[in-house]
């Protein structure tokens, strides 16, 4: 079991309020991703759940039990750090065995569990090495191994992939998702990368300045963003926003159109513009178009389109997929 409930949690460092007031309900077995820009409080929120930081006020419940004042060692959660945080003076085997030793399990049970974890994570041939003799991906696997052996109520991941190179990151992303499907244990995952959030999460918490902007499934967030912040944060490339008279035509303070929701023409359309940069990825082409009076817009087209700097294009937003926002940025 591993349901986690936050009730009116507040965290301040002295005068600075990092998290004003957050209430969340994370169900048992769920993969929840906290996503947001740097400094939005997502790591702090994770550390509050872990017990590495004390809440200023509010309650944290683990399986219905109040753990607000419990030290991290007593919460039964496992954490994987961005820096891996392996014990440099211990072998891989001792690193993975450490939480079991702390739980005072008998040696034969420890050996059995370490061997099992090592086999699952392809670490069997590295067990006697020190962490410094491992690559980044292997270190991250050891960190995950150390987390899974103790069969925690929930896993907490603090940007675990940001120190890895791009190819490895995609691999580890899949491995963690698979691990979740195998173990069916609650996982909370912090990242600033919205692609990781979209691909891994059952539900995403979008945080901004310590507030929850929206909590929902990835597709919910993409299709029905609650406000302009979420609309701009989820989706890559970013949504294009238009204010002023053009938005007023749709009875809104501002409107947003995703790069993939435009019809592109060289002869006619709603908005006229000139191609600035065309980024050709092969499968897609991203056009950065300077429109007349509406600013810079990003358009996604298929990879076969060949536009060049200076080409004149006409853009027509798909009328069923225009997002409208009021003056406060809330979706209408």
């Amino acid at each position: 079991m591993g349901s986690i409930t936050l009730e009116h949690v507040n965290k301040s460092f002295g005068e600075v309020e990092i998290i004003p007031d957050i209430s969340l309900d994370i169900r048992d077995g769920e993969f929840v991703v906290f996503v947001g820009p740097s400094g939005c409080g997502k790591s702090t929120l994770l550390r509050l759940i872990a017990g590495l930081e004390d809440t200023t006020s509010g309650t944290i419940l683990l399986d219905g039990q109040d753990v607000t004042d419990a030290p991290p060692a007593r919460r039964g959660l496992a954490m994987v750090f961005q820096s891996y945080a392996l014990y440099p003076h211990m072998s891989v085997r001792d690193n993975i065995a450490f939480p079991l030793k702390m739980a005072k399990l008998p040696q034969d049970v420890i050996d059995q569990k370490v061997d099992y974890a090592a086999r699952t994570l392809n670490l069997a041939s590295y067990l006697d090495r020190r962490p410094r003799a491992l690559s980044g991906g292997q270190r991250q696997r050891v960190a995950i191994g150390r987390a899974i052996v103790r069969e925690p109520k929930a896993f907490l991941f603090d940007e675990p992939l940001s120190n890895l190179d791009a190819a490895l990151r995609v691999n580890m992303r899949l491995e963690i998702t698979e691990l979740h499907q195998q173990l069916k244990t609650t996982m909370i995952y912090v990242t600033h990368d919205q692609v990781e959030a979209m691909t891994m999460a059952d539900r995403i918490v979008v945080l901004n300045a310590g507030n929850v902007e929206q909590f929902g499934s990835p597709l919910d967030l993409y299709k029905k963003p609650a406000n302009r912040f979420v609309a701009g944060f989820i989706g890559s490339p970013k949504m294009n926003f238009v204010d002023g008279p053009e938005a007023a035509k749709h009875n809104a303070h501002s409107i947003g159109v995703r790069p993939e929701h435009f019809k592109l023409s060289t002869t006619e359309g709603a908005w006229k513009g000139t191609v600035g940069v065309a980024e050709q990825l092969g499968s897609d082409t991203f056009l950065h178009v300077q429109t007349d009076g509406l600013g810079l817009m990003t358009i996604r087209t298929d990879g076969d389109q060949t536009f060049r700097h200076g080409d004149v294009v006409w853009l027509t937003p798909d009328p069923t997929r225009i997002y409208k926002f009021d003056a406060a940025g809330k979706a209408i």
Binding site: A50, P71, A73, F81, S83, A85, Y87, R146
Partner: protein
């Protein structure tokens, strides 16, 4: 860009460095040589460099007169005892300052260091009276205690500096792995800080070994260490140069050897974290 250095410049600097080193080392060398001379040769108007009549009788005379071995054992007990006691107190203190600092941590560190700025003689009378009333005068445990206290600021400071270099993530990982404070310190912090702790230990053993002020003031015959031993030699037998040299050599030899064998460790520890 690397600077080009001519061979003659290199030779010049090498000769200069050796000359300075020899100049600094010469009194010690002279002491060593004199220790093996007869008294007559030691004070001869035309001194010889090497002993003409090589003799070990000075060492026997020194041991007979004031029991070198008793003083040496006292030195070992006081210097190692006070350092280990200091480490036991300082490790938790440095842990809390490095990993759970408060607004006042910097001030406390400065205040601790400031106690080392005051001349020791400033607190001589109160400490002497306290020692007299607690019957700690001329006892090995009393001397160990005062040595622990006077070196504690340095031990805390050194450990604090080393601990600051340890990533806090690793200690947090230990906490998440179910380690209580004691296990976190014993299984994770201390093994990672071994180079720092070792050089702190060495430096403080040396400081305690060489400490003279409190040793001479608070002890006499029973608990005296080698510094007391040497000072007892200098005044009445000041004219017996060879015996004084032998006593000096005996007093500095153990710590000199310790320093010699651990110099790598000492240098590594003292420059730890200076360059990343």
């Amino acid at each position: 860009m690397a600077r080009r250095v001519s061979t003659s410049t290199k030779v010049g600097f090498t000769v200069l460095a050796w000359a300075v080193a020899l100049l600094i080392f010469s009194p010690i060398l002279w002491t060593v040589l004199t220790a093996f001379k007869t008294e007559a040769e030691a004070i001869a108007a035309q001194p010889t460099f090497f002993p003409q009549n090589f003799t070990l009788e000075n060492f026997g005379a020194v041991q007979d007169r004031s029991d070198y071995f008793k003083h040496a054992i006292n030195s070992i007990i006081v210097s190692f005892g006070s350092t280990i006691l200091g480490l036991i107190i300082a490790i938790p203190a440095a842990w809390s300052m490095a990993f759970a600092p408060s607004k006042r941590t910097k001030d406390i560190l400065m205040w601790m260091l400031s106690t080392k700025m005051m001349p020791a003689v400033g607190v001589l009378i109160p400490i002497y009276l306290i020692f007299r009333d607690l019957r700690l005068l001329d006892t090995v445990h009393g001397l160990t205690l005062i040595m622990t206290l006077i070196n504690l600021p340095i031990i805390v400071w050194m450990l604090y500096t080393y601990f600051k270099e340890i990533p806090v993530d690793i200690l947090e990982a230990a906490r998440m792995d179910g380690a209580e404070l004691w296990n976190e310190i014993v299984h994770v912090l201390v093994p990672m800080a071994v180079p720092g702790i070792a050089s702190t230990l060495l430096l403080n053993v040396i400081l305690a070994w060489n400490e003279a002020f409190w040793t001479i003031t608070l002890t006499s015959g029973r608990a005296g260490t080698l510094t007391a031993f040497i000072s007892s030699f200098s005044s009445p037998q000041g004219l017996f140069l060879a015996k004084l040299s032998a006593a000096s050599l005996l007093a500095i030899a153990p710590i000199l050897l310790l320093g010699w064998f651990s110099q790598k460790q000492l240098v590594r520890g003292l420059t730890f974290g200076a360059v990343k």
